[in-house]
Symmetry: C2
Subunit: 254 residues, 2 copies
């Protein structure tokens, strides 16, 4: 099955709706990974906060429908949904925030891929992001329905990939990068998270693939204690190290 | 959407085919997790080897189609597929082994959930497992299409869940356990992997949910070096600790 950026219907009306919703969003950055458990949601959450603190208008959309974590990471509690010709994202510490948990009330969502995809598109089509400099999207791991749909529906999407030092994690990253290359999706770069030992394995592999290596972040056991507390989270070594990547991400602004 | 163990078609002919294929397989154990990156594939691989070394007839099926790892973990290289009224699993160190990589040649599989599901069912329907005491199935993480299909198609399925100490990992485990309870799927228990700090948080939460806590396994940085080498893998602290769980898993035999 050859992947293509176009949907099976050459003209998918939902593409137009989402285009309109994102009209005043300058950049949409999908934080993705090959496998799960590499710190992707944490990265997305903290990146959004860093950009926010630098004075940018930032949205954070948790698109990991079956395993949403960002609300827990940041400590988002008030999910009062207000609708006004669309769904207004929840204001949180200066971010505009949205996640499926606003609707699912933390119940299990044993959704089949096609259903997740539809639910995502429905939600994404309804959110009024307004004016944003950055919309950070926390993706589910891997190359499944949501990844394929976001690529199809959001023309201005860019990807930033999080991996760990493990060769197992990086293998799926290679496949993801190959797919993104084939679909001509811009990749900001790869971040190596949870680093424990000195090694340039990932850095070299990323260079071989012609992708930008943004840097590495050490494993930080204090993150677990900081979950749910934005200020504590931003004081962790993880967050401080991540702050070093922000200029490299911003510098892509045309 | 209320989950149900029956498919939408009350009589799915593929259930009968798979039933027949598994006729002489005593126990089918799905190694599952809420989120990815918790060491599920590693656990499945090493568990299969331990059971094998205890003299049982063991099969290992890597059902994590978009992110297969077990072949890398164990170092399975020869994927010569032999067909004889079905697909014969690949013999490996005494195991009967099968993975999508035998067919996909390590290319990216950007499959939509429905396609993964169909591919899984096709493959599962074709494999001739023969006589086995244990068929260990390495599941994709979470509660998506493959999980729902395995439950639907394999009547004798039991689940063993791997988590890490992180509250983020365990949240999705709670949802998975709730779903399995609703679908009346037997759960052997929960293993807490990659433990770094002393804590009984997961043990207590598992007890609260009325599920068996099988034990914890420390984070073992030597595993990465042992990947692809069965003997080295079985010498790791991880593997030695895992061996302690085997009697508890075996003891479920009726």
């Amino acid at each position: 099955m050859k992947a293509s950026k176009e949907s099976n219907n050459p003209v998918d009306p939902r593409v137009a709706v989402i285009d309109k919703r994102l009209k005043n969003v300058k950049r949409v950055i999908a934080i993705s990974s090959g496998k799960g458990g590499v710190g992707k949601s944490l990265f997305a959450s903290v990146l959004a906060m860093h950009l926010n603190r630098k004075g940018f208008l930032v949205g954070l959309f948790d698109a990991d429908f079956t395993s949403p974590s960002t609300h827990r990471i940041l400590g988002v509690k008030n999910f009062e949904i207000r609708e006004e010709k669309g769904i207004l994202p929840v204001p949180f510490y200066g971010l505009k925030y949205m996640s499926i948990v606003a609707f699912s009330k933390e119940k299990a969502l044993p959704l089949r891929g096609a259903d997740v995809s539809n639910a995502l598109i429905e939600l994404f089509s309804a959110i009024l992001w307004g004016n944003l400099d950055y919309l950070i999207v926390d993706m589910p791991p891997g190359i499944g329905d949501v990844t394929l749909d976001i690529i199809r529906l959001v023309k201005k999407i860019e990807f930033l990939i999080v991996t760990t030092p493990s060769v197992l994690a990086f293998e799926t990253v290679e496949k993801l990068l190959a797919l993104l290359k084939e679909l001509k999706v811009p990749v900001i770069g790869v971040v190596e998270n949870m680093k424990i030992k000195e090694s340039s394995f990932i850095k070299k592999k990323v260079a071989e693939l012609g992708t930008s290596f943004l840097g590495d972040v050490p494993f930080d056991s204090e993150v677990e204690n900081a979950l749910g507390d934005v200020e504590a989270l931003l004081r962790t070594v993880f967050a401080q190290k991540l702050a070093e990547f922000v200029p490299r991400i911003i510098s892509r602004d045309s």
